[in-house]
Symmetry: D3
Subunit: 305 residues, 6 copies
């Protein structure tokens, strides 16, 4: 094997890989030349948001009350601009022209401008919800602290606990999900999943004072509904039991298929709760068990020993 | 404690740590001066491969059919050169001279040149298998999409789903494993393990249309054999039940000790399947259970409630 | 929505987010202007320590016995200086002045200088324990190698295995925990948790020749005590069963509430061992089970099939 | 001076610096939100162009004839995209709407789109001129080699000589100048000026086989005209002698006011040639002198000793 | 030559270079452990100051009147903190304890705290002078524009012209010089010298509406005094003619030895004006000449042709 | 102009630029695949050498006598390895096989190994000369300090003065020149030229206690010979007056054609000294003049006023 055979191999592999049938479903080129949302920029967005919500813990290390206003102003401005770019990328990415008949008669350039306008509007709406986002995350910090005797103070919760890192991302993603931003909410929660081992779908609905201890392996599915003051442990699954197929044998999308957990529910480690069932207020689910039927309020169920 | 005692402490710790008996098994210096495979370079290799296999989703963001050929050419060329360096490092790292009696009579420099030649040959063979690698990964994308009602389109699968990130790495590592490249396949799959929480040994054999939902905590052992159209959920273990020890009490390496899953098997979350058993075609294994015996084709087994 | 409304939104959100009641528990400003411990610097500290303990595997790639002394000298010196800065940050971060009545009469500047002195002293003590740290980690390498038939050599263990990455961090964090360094031990172990999926509290006590196979999802609580030659598999929890509340309904901190595992215990995947119970010498705990009572030495318990 | 006075000082200085009259001529905000051309991106453009023109000397270090086509394709594609962005920035920057009455009736968005179209067209024209650009630069390499007995080979000329670094930039900038791209040509030549000490205005006209020895301090003004085979030494000025003022006392822009050097002229170090004079074919101008009148073809003039 | 001789060479060179007599005047270790001012941080300081003075041209590219206040606030805050660190380094660097008898009785720690306080005070004074600094630089921009028929608009002056880059640095350095900050003013002006080829000593006094055309090779000595509306061309030297030696043959420091240029003076390229002479109001000095005597107001002198 | 014409333009320009006749003299591909010396690595080499020679001023900022030995050891080791790579690149770059008949009969691989061996030998010789290099540079620091009344202390000289930055590079390059290392000495001195405006050919011979004030525009040609205690000012040229051509009209290389300056010579700003003439001991050359004949010892010559 020498330089000549190498050149031949390279050329041949390039040829094979550039055959359209070889990449048809694996290739993305949007007609308006806007690239995909970028993992690197989304990470920057997460970092900015963490710094805005938890000043002094994340983001700029030298912060004080004199300059807090300047710093929030600059960070919010940058967050807004990064979000506009990413939301525009997300909107361009989805099969937008097909989805929205309203654009049918528009030129490509006009569609591109309209997408830009929509991105600006949604980014602004996201910014406007940050104070409420911070308020709710503050309740999660309280819940994490109260739920762990090992925690020394709020500072340890905010700077170390995976649940807070993940909920900051999930709650941001959930706002974007509510604003019909495509793709980005899922990219964000998968970034949180990789960082913390906690996999929360951005479509899930989660109340205040929520916490997850340790967290690795937790899965919370798209149509889950979680009340206030709920606590999960590591490895808990809130999943679908099965899902109906359409006539072509493909899963039907969008059906409510994950559990409802009412207020003050506790689920211990590695329990799996599956299907559109309801776990009643204050119920306790023991570890390592498999639950596929409703559990009444206040009830406790555990593994048969 | 002052500057003088600090200097003394530093000097003394340096002395202790440079005593050969303190580092004898923890220290790597290959005689030919080639450094170890580098995590940083391997990450670059993963990034390049993802960009080649999923153009526009990973790698260069500005891609179009005009320039696709140029870009694949450049990326393959760089991938080849990085691989040569890393494979050379991996080969130098293993106890090569001991292993291969053929080199016994060679000078150090000649061994070094021969290792280089072997690295070039294996890197070229890896490159030649990329079109087939892409073809199989395309089936995994289809499986992930069909298996998840929450998935909106292939694009979401390719850009977000941990199973695709992990399988890209595992399938690359498995090719290198087949080419007898030391160490690198394991380094690659542990990098994927850290990123996705899915731990697949590069020696495992996995068919087409394979998918894992969520994925955190999945373990697939070295001698596992998985057919086509198999689906796993988070937390599933395909492990060894026990392993025989040799006369000195050390585990005997290389014995088939992990399960065989035939086509169309489904395994639900946190199930553990252990030992060289066979799960027959179309069998369904329920969550949170512990399976150590064969399961017949088409059978379903679940946790006792 | 146009530039004017955007400006208004930004200004308004800045106003809301700078209201002290909105950030009171989420904001950190230490009175002496020392920033928090930094994740980036702690990562550098981890990298340096790995290079010092496993020369040639981590850290500088071009290492040889001639220059080993120079390189350890430089790396220890840098490690010391980074540690002083981080420990100082950690000490400043805790409510130091409240905690230590001895400082009550001191001026702010004097407290700041005293904290610096304490940081220097603790960093030096940490450095002094590195030779012992290396000795114990060498036993962990042996345990990981003996416990896994898939492992080819020590080199693979050291450069790939998550358990070694995690134990290096945990054992460093445990030393700092013993030196009463606030916050940093938990930050370190959560960094390891994110990298490896293994969550070990720095307060846990762990003997020699310890190993964890695969590791994802393992949780080892603050007051756990683990003997020598213990082996865990992925998903194992050593947790608290419940914790007493004080009069205000908050968990009482600092009570021994996690299990004791004596020498030569094995715990299989996804088992949960909860509460201040004792698993006797040589006991074997099967997978996916929930253990809340003592297990006698030599006993084996498994899931009811 | 304490924290309170510092806060006051900061606030007051911010107030003063945000008064519009304090920054009116020093501040740039284009109405369409396009930022200025970026020095960082222009440096990337220079680096790409050098790599395209002198393959193997600049740009990618691992180049060979097999992959040259791929690499040029990728680099040209990137160069094109970077240029479009920068030219768009340059066009947006100039007082475009005022300058071009044709846009008077357009909306802001339409102007923005039209500017984009113009930028794409000019970037493409620039790309189309690269082969000719390379041809001319090759003559400059020959001239530099023939003009310096210290030069060992063309490689030394290409990789070391400031004149080649500067001429690559100047000749690029001159093409952009000819395409009526605002600001960028001057930014490019000032970047070359900073790197090499040679200050060539992009409006100057320079023939083939041009060289400058050493180069520091050379100035070549906007309306200079230089023939073929001309050689300058360090410190030479081709400047204006004086310039007429308009009725308001401001210099009148755009008048031919710099010298014409015909073919085969040589000018020695630190000579100053000023005003719209002609230095005839083959004339030689000695060092450290001040020339303000025509010099006949073939004549030599030197400092009076 | 082999590994053994290399190890010996390295060891021997280390030995020679660590002999104190070999580095006694070339080595810097301040007793309080504060490092030297850092070129990298000073560059950051220059970049911040340019962005504050010329918003939109330097620094943040996305700036608008809504966020200008936030951005200046953040940038000034960062500038202040970087300056405190560098001034502290500069003060620690000088032989402070020797210079200032007032510290004689202080402990090392107290001196260190006092230096910190002085650094904070001087940094704040510097910040307070920024509005005036901007006002004067605005006059320099006008002068550069009026002095060059090739300049299209203020924007080109601000973003391209070396004279503005250099004067921004010089005028900052001159303020620090006036605040008795050691070393940093000279480091700053040498950084400008390297970037622009213009060498202005921070001690020089320069009026408003000052400009230098092209600039390479200009030297303006420490005790030069320049009035308003003065214009220089490239290569001009304002130097010392000679300097008296003290009894030991060393030059006596601090004597006024450079020229005085009154208002409205013009000096053409490569002229050298040497010694404490006065060039009277409105005088014109021709190029390439050597001037060592006073020139009367309104007079023109040129090279003998 | 649209996407189709752009694709066509790109393809066509790639075609033109890949025609071998278009790049024949502008393209570098060494047959053994070793890339060219790298500007980036050479800059790292300069930075390392400055840190080794002037500890505490350049390189690591936290240095003290305890750790100086460790730090020099590590830095020298790294300097050696970087140099080996660059010298190997330089040797591979020159037309080595043509130049050295001795290699005629060797295989490519053997030549490559032999070049490596030569590179290692020369790098080691360079390292061995560092103590002498430092000794001579210390004399240059003294000369710069004594020659400038504005200099406050050695520290200012070492950390700010361009002459010291340039002489560190020149003296390194001169050693490599003496070791017959191709290309790199010229690359190094052109890097210094760009940084300082001082252009010294690495072949020039320069004695101790040498200094250049300000420096911009100084040119010192390849065959110049400079004694001890010589001082130059900015803009001085030590150049060739003319150079003989060979039969083909090309300049004959390698002839002594630059001036000799004996001990204690002073040359003022912008003077040009040309040809193989001798400026005798203690002579003084005035500014802005053109000298082409010998000047006797002790003589002073100046511009005719």
């Amino acid at each position: 094997m020498n330089a000549r055979t190498l050149a031949k191999t390279l050329t041949q592999v390039v040829d094979e890989l550039t055959r359209p049938e070889s990449y048809k479903d694996l290739y993305h080129e949007h007609s308006n030349g806007v690239p995909l949302p970028s993992g690197e920029v989304l990470q920057k967005i997460i970092d900015l948001a963490r710094g805005i919500i938890f000043p002094g813990y994340y983001g700029r290390s030298c912060i004080n009350t004199t300059t807090l206003e300047y710093q929030l102003g600059v960070d919010l401005d940058q967050l807004y601009h990064l979000l506009v770019g990413q939301i525009q990328a997300g909107l361009s990415f989805s099969n937008f022209e097909e989805d929205m008949a309203v654009f049918a008669a528009y030129s490509k350039r006009t569609v591109c401008m309209e997408i830009r306008r929509m991105a600006e509007e949604r980014a602004e709406r996201f910014i406007a919800q940050l104070p409420e986002l911070r308020r709710v995350l503050a309740t999660d910090v309280v819940a994490a602290f109260n739920g762990d005797p090992a925690a020394k103070n709020y500072a340890e919760i905010i700077s170390c606990y995976p649940v807070i890192k993940e909920l900051t991302i999930y709650r941001m993603a959930h706002i974007l999900w509510g604003l019909d931003v495509p793709l980005i909410p899922r990219m964000l929660t998968e970034m949180g999943h990789s960082e913390t081992g906690i996999d929360i779908h951005p479509g899930a609905t989660i109340g205040e004072y929520f916490t997850i201890d340790h967290g690795t392996g937790v899965v919370i599915g798209e149509t889950s509904v979680i009340g206030n003051n709920v606590k999960l442990y590591q490895g808990v699954t809130l999943g679908a039991k099965s899902f109906p197929l359409d006539e072509e044998g493909n899963p039907i999308k969008g059906i409510a298929r994950h559990p409802i957990l009412e207020d003050h529910v506790i689920v211990y480690s590695n329990a799996s709760i599956l299907g559109r069932i309801t776990i009643g207020r204050g119920a306790v689910i023991g570890g390592n068990i498999w639950v596929t039927h409703d559990v009444a309020a206040g009830e406790s169920i555990t593994q048969k020993a």
